[in-house]
Amino acid sequence: MSTTNRPRDPHSLSDDIIAMSIGPSHPAMRCPIKLNAAVAGDHITSMQVELGFMHRGFEKMAEYTPYNELIDLVDRLNPVNSPSNALTFVTAVEKLMGVEIPERIAYLRMVFAELARMASHFDCIATAAIELELTKLKLLMSESLNVLLDTIETHMFRPSFGGISCSLDDNFSGFIRQLFAFVSSRSMEGRRYMSQGGIFHKRLAGYGTVTSQRALEAGFSGPNLRASGIEYDLRRHCPYWLYPKVGFQIPTGTNGDCYDRYVTRLYEIEQSMLIIEQCLDRMARLDDEQVACAALPVAVKPQGEIYFAVESAEGELGYFIVGRGEDKPYRLHIRPPGLAEAGALADVLTGEQMEQIVPLMGSFNLSGAELER
């Protein structure tokens, strides 16, 4: 990793460089990563990032597990944004088999994927707020996260091949609108706390800057790439489900610093709500004959290879599947959002102050189980 030496802290009382380990388990980190830092005064002079503290052995296990059982395994890869993983996997297998899904199911998938995106973004900002001791902001974000996770869980959401399984009552759209009234009031208030000139801005602006060129070269994706000013969103650039039918904006940052990465996420929450409202409207206009729950009538034994990626909350989440006509995949590989970011972390953190580590790491929103093998 990077060992570039940056200028020493002028306020440091001593010239000694101390080796300091942060992690792998830290209350404010969402995934176990160990940071081995060389610190002079309060400044990090060099850093190594160590991964490998969460061996799920998922890809190995997948080669011995039938496709149907894998659905339940993949949604454990990201605790907050679990629908994204399951939906991506299911859609990848469907594409490999050439299965078309009904419109209603595509809209339902979009609704749950966007709800999960909102949850993940709220979680990301709440983590930063805890570290910055902004209790009110933390409360606002956690309250929203709480109701969103509650919504996903109470509807017993579980995708299946060719369909989706969830218990929706007649007033689902009314329920979601009520939920949005609650969530958007919180996010609007959060916006006030995160606006320019506030503590949030002062503490985070200008730190951990990643230029657009650097972000592209390093292979960043999702909000981390958009915060650097590059308008790249798979929902627009490589559309899946029925995203071409809904209108939304792609928020981008200007400086690519830590503050921009958080604010991009906050703006995305509002766009997600817009997408869900459009989905619900369009679902209401569909014929009732189209079932909400469906399953594939044939056995799942795909043949061939596919790489299918979605715009997950943390970035590009891709599933690469090689099938050989058996009920288990020959090879399953996950393109995790965050591996590129973890690779660039050492460079971004070198030269920063110790107190910035947690908000900076949090701004990339890395998810451990997806990242590791």
């Binding site: 190594q48 061996h55 994706s221 490589c238 790489y307 990626a309 690469f320 090879r331 393109r335």
Partner: protein, 159 residues
Amino acid sequence: MNDFSATLKKACSEAILAEQNSPDGIVMTIKADKIRQVFETLAGRGTSDGRMLLTDISAVNIEENDCRFELYYHVFLIDLHLRLTLKCRVEGDKIDSIADIMPAALMPEREIFDMFGLKFRGHGNLPRLFMHNDFEGHPLLREYPLMKRQILLEQTKFE
């Protein structure tokens, strides 16, 4: 889309063995020893037809004839809205690294070395990414037993 693949084919006519159009983009089969040439051409394109992103590299352990591995390079061309998959078969256990042309390949190459033992020439010392340094073998090879565990008892030293 066609302009792009025609230009790429013209520039690396020797490297590209086959081309296939899929609903999601183009899949090109290339010669493993020409991988650097293809990526140099891709990276050296003018900015007019756009920015590109190397999203990931996937390896598959196949044991067919002399060929042990299949590598898939997933590239996305942002301005053309086009996904390009470059597929190559590797004989033996070495291939040229492209990490100096595309820094995004750094982590995937380390991961593939760790999981499969496929070495990337020119990637520096290629440390393991996830497994500990005393780990023997490569867990995602087909021959590695599913239930074989190797526990690390000592803490890794940091220098």
